[in-house]
C-alpha cells in the first residue's frame, strides 16, 4: 500500500507543472514538430506533406549556416566569460570588502533593466566617433570604429553586451550557493594555511559545481535564446554577420511567415540544445552532487 503511495505522491506534486507544461509547451511543440514535415499553408494553398524537404533546404540555406556559425562563436564567447565573471563577482561580493553593497548593486542592476531598453542605450554606446566606447577608447588614441556596422566587430559587440547583462544575473546564484557553504570549512582551511586562491580552487569551486552546472546550462540556453538585443541593435546584420539561430527562426516565423520552415529550424535548434544540455546534465549531475 505504501509502495503505491510512494508512486502517487511525486506525480501529484508534478501535476500542476506537467499540465501547464503540456498545454503551453509540449503539445504546441509537438505540433511544431509535425508542421516541419509539411509546407507552410498559405491562404489558397493548403499544407502539403513534404517529408524532410525542409531539413534538406537548411543545408543549402546560407543564412542558416551563417547563423549556426555565429551562434557557436557567440556561445563559446559568452558562456565561459559570463560564468567566470559571475563567479568572480559573487566571491568579491561575498567577501568583507568595503562597499560590497554598492558593488553587489552595480553588478546586479543590469539584470533588472529591460533588454530592449538596454539594447537601445548600448546602441548609442557603440555609435562610431562620439559613442561612449569610442570616446573612451579615443582617450587612448584609438581611431573611431563602426562597431555595429562592421562584420568583424558586430558579433563581439553583441557579446560584450550579453556578458554585461548576464553576469550579474548568474552572480546571484553563486552568491546564494556561497552562503550555503559552511564557514567551518573555510576556517579549517584557513588554519591549514590555505591561500584564498587554493581554498577557492580546492573547496569553493568544487562545492559550487552544482551551481555551475545550473549556470552553465542556463547560460548556454540563453546564448541561443536571448535575441532582443539583436533585434534592436543589428537585426542580424551587416550581411548576417550577427544573425543568431533564434533570430533567424524568429524572422522566418514572424516576418517570412514560413511556419513550416521555422518549425524545422526550431526542431534542429532544440535538438542541438537538448543534446548539449543532456550531455552536460548526464555527465555532470551525477558528479556534482556529493551529498
Amino acid at each position: 500500500m505504501k509502495k503505491t503511495n510512494n508512486m502517487v505522491a511525486p506525480w501529484l506534486l508534478l501535476l500542476p507543472a506537467t499540465v501547464l507544461l503540456a498545454a503551453f509547451t509540449h503539445i504546441p511543440a509537438v505540433m511544431t514538430f509535425i508542421n516541419s514535415f509539411y509546407r507552410t499553408p498559405r491562404g489558397n494553398r493548403p499544407a502539403r506533406f513534404v517529408g524532410l524537404d525542409q531539413y534538406s533546404n537548411m543545408l543549402s540555406d546560407p543564412v542558416f549556416m551563417a547563423a549556426l556559425k555565429n551562434n557557436a562563436i557567440y556561445a563559446l564567447g559568452t558562456v565561459p566569460a559570463a560564468i567566470a565573471l559571475s563567479m568572480l563577482m559573487a566571491v568579491i561580493v561575498n567577501s568583507a570588502i568595503r562597499g560590497r553593497a554598492l558593488l553587489r548593486m552595480s553588478f546586479f542592476l543590469p539584470t533588472v533593466l529591460p533588454m530592449i531598453a538596454v539594447a537601445n542605450i548600448w546602441l548609442f554606446f557603440y555609435t562610431p566617433g562620439y559613442g561612449l566606447i569610442d570616446q573612451f577608447l579615443g582617450l587612448f588614441g584609438f581611431h573611431e570604429r563602426n562597431w555595429l556596422g562592421d562584420p568583424d566587430t558586430v558579433l563581439g559587440s553583441l557579446m560584450v553586451l550579453a556578458i554585461w547583462k548576464e553576469a550579474g544575473f548568474f552572480m546571484i546564484f553563486y552568491l546564494a550557493a556561497l552562503q550555503q557553504i559552511s564557514p567551518t570549512l573555510s576556517e579549517a582551511a584557513a588554519l591549514e594555511g590555505a591561500s584564498r586562491w587554493y581554498f577557492f580552487r580546492r573547496v569553493t569551486f568544487p562545492l559550487l559545481m552544482p551551481t555551475t552546472l545550473f549556470v552553465m546550462i542556463n547560460a548556454i540556453i540563453n546564448s541561443f535564446r536571448l535575441i532582443d538585443h539583436v533585434i534592436v541593435m543589428t537585426r542580424g546584420g551587416p550581411d548576417n554577420a550577427s544573425t543568431l539561430l533564434l533570430y533567424y527562426v524568429y524572422n522566418v516565423a514572424f516576418r517570412f511567415w514560413d511556419a513550416a520552415y521555422a518549425s524545422a529550424l526550431t526542431v534542429v535548434l532544440l535538438a542541438a540544445l537538448a543534446l548539449l544540455a543532456f550531455v552536460q546534465f548526464g555527465v555532470l549531475d551525477r558528479k556534482v552532487h556529493y551529498k
Binding site: 505522491a9 503551453f24 552595480s106 548600448w122 561612449l132 544540455a277 546534465f281 552532487h289
Partner: protein, 280 residues
C-alpha cells in the same frame, strides 16, 4: 571566507591586496557605468547626450515626455497585477515539482525531468500561435491570467529549486520526517525556508523577466486595462525617425524605477535573507 580572515588582510594592506581591491572597484564601476550614463542622458536635454559638462542644465522634460507617451499609470498597475499573479503561481507550481524531482525516486523521473528541461530551450514566441489558440479556447484573451499562464510552470524555476533542494542536508529532512512531518510539511518547514535566498533570487529574476517581457503580452492583450508597461515602452523603440536617447533613457529609468528602487530598498533584506538561511 569568513569576515574576520579578511579583516586581518585589510589591516595588512599589502600592495597586492590594494591592487586586488582596486580591481574589484574598477569592475564594479565598469558595470554600473552604462547605468550612470543612462541617468546622465535622462536628466539632460538631448544636446548633452554626448557632451559631459558638469553644469549642463538639468531637466525633467525627458521624463515628462516619456510619461505622456502612453498611459503609464495604468500600465504600472497592470504590470503589478501580472507580476504578482505570475510570481505566486510560479512559486507554488515550481516548488512542488522541484520537490518531487529532488526527493522522490519514481519511475520515469529522468524522462519527465528532461521534458521539463526542454521548456528551458523553447522560446515561448515560437509557440505563440498555438498558445494564442489555446488561450482563446479558454476564453481568456486580453486578461492578466492569459499573459501569465504559459510562464507559470517555469522550467527555470523547477530546475533552480531542484538544484537547491538537493543541497539541503539530508539529516534535516530526516529529522523533520521523524518528527512526524509528512512530505508537504517537510517541504514547507524545511526546504522552503532553507531555500529562501533562492526564492528571493528567483523572484527577482522572474520579476525582471516579466517586467520586461513584451511580445506575448502585446499579442495576447488588446486593452489599456490589461497591458503591461513594456507595451508602453515600445512606443520609443521604433527607430523610423531616429532614436531619442534622452527620452529612451528616461523611459527606461521610469519603467524600471520600481525595480531599481525595490532593489535598493530591499537590498538589506535581500542580502540578509542570504545570510540567515546559510547553514550555520
Amino acid at each position: 571566507m569568513s569576515a574576520m580572515t579578511l579583516s586581518h588582510h585589510t589591516r595588512e594592506a599589502s600592495f597586492w591586496r590594494v591592487l586586488e581591491i582596486g580591481a574589484c572597484y574598477l569592475l564594479g564601476l565598469l558595470w554600473i557605468l552604462p547605468l550612470f550614463y543612462a541617468v546622465w542622458m535622462a536628466v539632460h536635454p538631448p544636446a548633452y547626450e554626448v557632451r559631459f559638462e558638469l553644469f549642463a542644465p538639468v531637466t525633467l522634460q525627458n521624463f515628462v515626455d516619456a510619461w505622456n507617451a502612453a498611459p503609464f499609470a495604468r500600465y504600472f498597475l497592470n504590470t503589478f497585477a501580472l507580476i504578482t499573479t505570475i510570481l505566486v503561481c510560479q512559486f507554488v507550481v515550481c516548488t512542488l515539482a522541484a520537490y518531487a524531482f529532488a526527493r522522490y525516486e519514481f519511475r520515469g523521473k529522468t524522462v519527465v525531468f528532461m521534458l521539463v528541461l526542454i521548456q528551458l530551450m523553447i522560446m515561448p514566441e515560437v509557440l505563440m500561435v498555438e498558445n494564442y489558440r489555446t488561450i482563446s479556447k479558454l476564453g481568456l484573451v486580453d486578461t492578466v491570467v492569459a499573459m501569465g499562464l504559459p510562464y507559470m510552470a517555469s522550467a527555470f524555476g523547477i530546475f533552480l529549486l531542484r538544484q537547491t533542494f538537493l543541497t539541503v542536508p539530508k539529516e534535516l529532512d530526516d529529522a523533520a520526517r521523524v518528527e512526524g512531518a509528512g512530505p508537504l510539511a517537510v517541504l514547507l518547514k524545511v526546504y522552503v525556508p532553507l531555500a529562501r535566498p533562492i526564492y528571493v533570487a528567483y523572484g527577482l529574476v522572474s520579476v525582471s523577466y516579466h517586467w520586461n517581457n513584451l511580445l506575448w503580452p502585446l499579442v495576447i492583450t488588446n486593452s489599456v486595462t490589461t497591458r503591461p508597461l513594456t507595451v508602453g515602452l515600445q512606443v520609443f523603440a521604433s527607430p523610423d525617425q531616429g532614436v531619442q536617447w534622452s527620452v529612451i533613457s528616461a523611459a527606461t529609468l521610469m519603467t524600471s524605477a520600481p525595480l531599481l528602487i525595490g532593489f535598493l530598498l530591499f537590498q538589506r533584506q535581500f542580502v540578509q535573507s542570504f545570510m540567515r538561511a546559510g547553514i550555520k
